[in-house]
């Protein structure tokens, strides 16, 4: 059963230097509040896995928390590169391990099932030419099938719409690889927009994201996915995603941003208080029409 903990305590208790982390959520429900808290607590030598590193890993890399990134698409969707990630790769500060989306999800499927590999039908490509994939011979006929090894994060961090009092997590809309990443991990810690009564969620059981017995801790963190979005609650802060590009290209501006918005804030409420006036209201309003 999940414990309810302040987000700071959850990170302090479950995230250690050198851990392999997976901050889940595909465009939607990205756990930025957790990313920022890991930066504040000064974790080092992490391995960061994520299909789409997104701004959350760009920010974490700017704070030098990681040595290695495992991913399948690194970019700022619709805007461009991830400037910090790019610098860290070019300077050799981080090692990278790159897969296709399907291979990365297949690695999580193997991790979640406790299996030693997963077969994939995925053509030879520049990635597999650079890092040859092992093959097995199918025991049915002679076909050679490419396989990927399991991915087993020490900790998967997720953000969900809500939890009930027992810590069961619920989410609506795009789920990406959240379930696979959570089920593949040793430990799952969650942040949520709100806590609701189990009774009010009785008719919503199709939207159960993860059962409480698979979740170690739940932390209340409204706006915990900003600048990504939470369907029906707040829209994606596309302005911030666009601004990040110029900001992150300039190392000293990036440093300043971290100082002000992450190190300079104690928690999510302090962070959102620094956002431009009217931004939160506009994102809330936009979410009502994003249906």
């Amino acid at each position: 059963m999940a414990d309810f903990l302040p987000l700071q305590d959850a990170v302090a208790r479950y995230v250690r230097d050198g851990d392999h982390l997976y901050l889940a959520g595909f465009t939607h429900l990205i756990p930025f509040a957790f990313g920022h808290e890991i930066i504040r607590q000064g974790r080092r030598h992490l391995t960061l896995s994520r299909a789409t590193p997104d701004l959350v890993y760009d920010q974490m890399l700017a704070a030098h928390v990681a040595d290695r990134v495992v991913f399948s698409y690194a970019g700022n969707p619709g805007v461009g590169n991830l400037p910090v990630f790019r610098r860290a790769v070019e300077s050799g500060e981080v090692e990278i391990e790159e897969y296709t989306h399907f291979e990365l999800v297949a690695r999580l499927a193997a991790g979640a099932a406790g299996l030693p590999f997963w077969p994939v039908r995925s053509l030879e490509n520049d990635l597999s030419r650079r890092r040859p994939r092992p093959h097995v011979r199918s025991p049915f006929g002679d076909e050679e099938v490419a396989v990927v090894p399991p991915l087993r994060p020490d900790v998967t961090l997720v953000h969900a719409h809500c939890a009930d009092e027992d810590g069961n997590l619920y989410a609506w809309g795009l789920l990406g690889e959240i379930k696979e990443a959570a089920l593949a991990a040793d430990v799952v810690i969650a942040s949520v927009e709100e806590v609701r009564s189990a009774a009010s969620l009785r008719a919503e059981r199709d939207h159960l994201l993860l059962p409480s017995f698979r979740v170690q801790s739940v932390s209340l963190a409204p706006w915990g996915a900003h600048p990504s979005y939470v369907l029906g609650r707040y829209d994606r802060d596309t302005t911030f995603y666009t601004e990040w590009d110029a900001l992150a290209r300039d190392p000293s501006a990036t440093e300043e941003w971290l100082k002000r918005f992450v190190f300079g804030t104690a928690d999510r409420a302090a962070y959102t208080a620094l956002l431009p006036k009217g931004r939160l209201a506009a994102l809330k309003e936009a979410a009502q029409h994003a249906g």
């Binding site: 997963w118 994939v120 092992p134 093959h135 097995v136 025991p139 049915f140 396989v147 090894p149």
Partner: protein, 287 residues
């Protein structure tokens, strides 16, 4: 594209010896209208693929339409064993391959993913490996661990009963979807029956409950009470009274002939009449 079709066309489109995956689970949301039509007029020698079979497998066996069954379980839940299934297993008149619920899913999923097999731990150190020769063991290339390889299952047809569908073959399944989506994706041809055909605009309102998508579907038949005598949540319960009648009839060849005469038809309206009409069913089984 309008994929609406009639039950006669469905039966005709399925050739002798076809491999047919059937959706639903024991007494829940079985495509019984289509199954009855196959039992009445189908060409037979079918190989059936079910995760959890019940009246579907039993009726087709009882009408002599089956050559082989790939299954994890076949039965009538609280009502007991499936009589024709049991008889066929005991006499060996039909070929059987016993799988498990997960391995049937993995076999279908392998086809969906385009791989010849999927790995699993399920079955290791059990008698399953002795009774089912379809599975193989293999070594994992990283650590050398022994695992089970489940071969891909590629049905020719999938038959699925949905709550709602549109004319293009998008279908809403309310409640437990069982393995119907895997069946729809893995089969070469998927045919739906649905309690009601609604507009595509109305279907869209159901969001994630639109579990079966038109790209996987070739035919749609509107068939109210099309899952009877299994249930179709949340509309109607399984008809346990009828199950009792079925089980009694199955005890005796003459009784069974009478049952077939009365109920096993490819005309859904005749079937509903034989049951005393829709109003009776609504009164008895509506949830």
């Amino acid at each position: 594209m309008d994929k609406q079709t009639g039950i006669a066309e469905v039966v005709e489109s399925i050739p002798r010896g076809a491999t047919i995956a059937i959706g639903g689970s024991s007494l829940s949301r079985k495509p019984m209208g289509m199954v009855r039509a196959l039992a009445a007029r189908g060409q037979g020698d079918y190989t059936l693929v079910v995760d959890v079979g019940g009246p579907d497998v039993d009726l087709l066996l009882g009408c002599g339409k089956v050559a082989k069954v790939i299954y994890a379980f076949v039965g009538f839940e609280v009502m007991g064993l499936a009589p024709h299934f049991r008889r066929a297993r005991e006499s060996g008149s039909v070929e059987f391959e016993e799988w498990t619920e997960y391995t049937v899913m993995a076999g279908l999923d392998a086809t969906v993913k385009g791989v010849p097999f999927l790995p699993t731990h399920a079955g290791l150190a059990t008698d399953l490996m002795a009774v089912n020769h379809s599975f193989r063991t293999m070594r994992d290339p990283f650590e050398g661990e022994e695992i089970v390889a489940v071969p891909a299952l590629r049905p020719d047809f999938a038959l699925i009963h949905a709550n709602l569908a549109d004319h293009q073959g998008n279908a809403v399944i309310l409640g437990d979807g069982h393995v119907d989506v895997l069946c729809a994706k893995a089969a070469r041809h998927t045919i739906l029956s649905a309690e009601r055909i609604v507009s595509s605009e109305e279907i869209q309102r159901y969001g994630r409950e639109v579990q079966v998508h038109r790209v996987h579907v070739e035919g749609v038949v509107e068939m109210p009470w099309g899952a009877h005598f299994s249930g179709c949540a949340p509309y109607y319960r399984a008809d346990l009274g009828h199950v009792q009648e079925y089980l009694l009839a199955a005890r005796d060849p003459a009784e069974w002939d009478r049952y077939r005469e009365r109920f096993v038809t490819d005309r859904p309206d005749d079937y509903l009449d034989a049951l005393g009409g829709m109003e009776t069913l609504v009164g008895r089984l509506d949830v």
